[in-house]
Symmetry: none
């Protein structure tokens, strides 16, 4: 009866490895041209074009034409969320730990998700903020910022009151890809990452989504938040 066209249909769109690779490449919200997505998926331009058309129809992507390029991006945050939730499902068997590339390791350690901090560092920081009572989980996947929290952010030069909440609130809980936990997102999350970068605690890579923790940043995070992390290079993987 096909009462659920969207459901299985959407899943089948994600099910193809090539399409999944493209979606993953787009998950941080960037817009990429078709050719680059083809490269990311390891397929020819023709095949990629066909896939992109399907994802477009399926409501997973949006596209903007600019000159002779066509830039594709996720249709919205709800798509990113759905993808992230999908990733929480794992095969039951103890999946053999694959040896990760150094890059993958760094990416897992700290990266930007849209414009906020994600990865082990992002989750650790968010946990610490909660433990200190600076932010508290609220309904609808949001965080409330406490008075103490506003003061603490202020000490970093981040004026919480100056931030303009979007329709979805000031601070949101964003499910973390690799860590299976939440990290800080929303306008506060964006400002937080920017503040930490400006202060020289973090460094964003230009080419990828990797975020590096500087020695200075490591020290400050430990002192101010009690967050103690190993740099990516020392992680087992």
């Amino acid at each position: 009866m096909s009462l659920l066209p969207s459901f299985a249909g959407v899943a089948s769109l994600i099910a193809d490895p090539a399409r999944a690779a493209m979606l993953i490449a787009l998950i941080d919200g960037r817009a990429l041209p078709a050719g680059e997505l083809a490269y990311a998926a390891g397929i020819t331009a023709q095949t990629a074009s066909s896939h992109l058309a399907k994802l477009l129809d399926g409501g997973l992507l949006r596209v903007e034409t600019e000159g002779r390029h066509r830039y594709y991006r996720l249709a919205g945050a709800h798509v990113a969320q759905a993808l992230e939730h999908l990733a929480t499902i794992r095969p039951t068997e103890p999946v053999r730990r694959k040896a990760r590339t150094p890059q993958a390791r760094e990416l897992r350690f700290a990266r930007c998700c849209y414009d906020h901090l994600a990865g082990q560092l992002g989750v650790a920081a968010t946990c610490a903020l909660q433990e200190k009572g600076f932010i508290v989980p609220a309904e609808d996947k949001k965080f409330d910022v406490t008075a103490a929290g506003a003061a603490w952010f202020g000490g970093l030069g981040l004026d919480v009151k100056a931030l303009r909440p979007t329709r979805r609130g000031l601070a949101r809980q964003c499910l973390d890809w690799t860590e299976r936990s939440h990290h800080l997102a929303g306008p506060l999350g964006v400002a937080f990452l920017k503040t930490l970068c400006d202060a020289g605690w973090l460094r964003r890579s230009r080419a990828s989504r990797i975020v590096q923790l500087t020695p200075r940043g490591r020290l400050e995070l430990k002192e101010r938040l009690g967050v103690e992390v190993q740099p990516a290079s020392e992680l087992a993987g």
Copy 2:
């Protein structure tokens, strides 16, 4: 980089219509035997068995053997969440409204989901119950029944106090497929549908899951709940 090997794999498990139907049948957390799932998906027992084995491997289902039955259920709340988020993705385009068969139209208008009311009518009624303050959304996808609500149900001859809550509560929020919203489920939902049928407001079809709204029912629902709906036969699509 294959940071998420299981990603496309999990999606492909959901992508099959038969498997999707089984997952949907399980989305409220109940455990169902293989045969019933086969029936729900409209396939033979052999085929269903193969699908169930895959879903099991994929970490989407758990199973408990009891006598000669095998009861399958979702592997956890995270699976249900992922499924629901998937359902939020819709084709962008007001996809050319397919001419639905009269049956599909009726099914979309009102049907029973297990033993409670679903479809446009189910969602409308549930929304009205919330607006009137008779039920309020609670944690863990449950509804709480207010004192006013208990009184209102009592006026219908439905004694809320006489209902025995299951382990999952007295009233639950069940995701509605076609309407992309929640409707009332759980013991209260079951009793509600039964009461409305007994009162002659609704009529359940014996062969299918279609539920018909009688003229009397239409009038009563409008007066008592402020619910105003068009009968299925007058709907456009």
